[in-house]
Symmetry: C2
Subunit: 180 residues, 2 copies
Amino acid sequence: MELKPVTERFILHWGEMGSRWGVNRTVAQIHALLFLAGRPLDAEEIAETLSVARSNVSNSIKELQAWRLVRVVHLMGDRRDYFETSADVWTLFKLIVEGRRQREIDPTLSVLRECLASPDMAAESLGSRQRINETLAFMEILTTWMDEMLRMQPETLMKTLGVGAKISKVVRKSPAESKR
Amino acid sequence: MELKPVTERFILHWGEMGSRWGVNRTVAQIHALLFLAGRPLDAEEIAETLSVARSNVSNSIKELQAWRLVRVVHLMGDRRDYFETSADVWTLFKLIVEGRRQREIDPTLSVLRECLASPDMAAESLGSRQRINETLAFMEILTTWMDEMLRMQPETLMKTLGVGAKISKVVRKSPAESKR
DNA sequence: CGATCGTTTCTGTATAAGAAGAAATATTGA
DNA sequence: TCAATATTTCTTCTTATACAGAAACGATCG
């Protein structure tokens, strides 16, 4: 598949940002490609379009599946795996936040709870104890609230965020328009 | 400085998570150390406590300053630089979100705007155009709303988040207790 | 204006991550 | 069951990052 100029720009940029977002370039590029393609692609086509090794596509797809950002679909009379991502930005955002939460927050919550429960905690200074306590409390509030937010429908969310209806429409449009 | 067991655990964990959060181990460890120490430390003491090279401390501190997470302070009659971070979790959170926004969001906003403004945009399919549009709209809504949230006082914020007053108190306690 | 102490920059090395290509495995259709 | 094709795993090479140690630089005090 030949990429149009803007699509290419978008994919290359997404790839560069990938490293800052905690995924490697190829993973981010594949996701961007699937997002813009708007139709399922097979691994071969992805590899050719992005000029990366076939195996690299395979591994990257696996990582995207771990994030639940990519699904497998099949076409009648074709035994290849085709891959697609959601066309809806809000859905993608939810999945990404969930993934980051699991990787970047949850382990810390566990450790903080263990620290606070430990008998060694008594040996710590009052200040340390308080700060560890506050850190845990803060992170719990934040994640609880984030979970609630993620359960919302885009419309409800936009109201909650106090955003005008005009932009809300733009976001809402996407699931309808995606043809699947 | 000898670290107490829980402090050490906290610092080591913070360091491990650092890589997932986009900063290296030493940077995260130093930040954790300053957070728990509750008093300004000089570079030498940091290096000894964490058993890292003096130059490593110097560079890591610079990165923490770029995040605005660490400040320099001086003690009368002592020409060394002492470093401290905020004891208030909410303040730290704000600085981190701001930093990540600059690094992880703003460049993408620019590129998306450029893409949409480009004459090449006409060559793109309707679906691509819509998805790029929606991506930008979504990210703009989100950042605008985040900016508003970050300007809030903890108390206001907690009300907005619909969190009970009891936890709000825990968060509020910290600026008062920090002795500076 | 030296001497001392602190800070920054530079350079080499070790480690980890990314990606390609080859090899092995699995699946389908004839 | 065999041949053809698709997919995954393994190995190797490359690149990027982290870190230590040394050297250079800068500032302050006597």
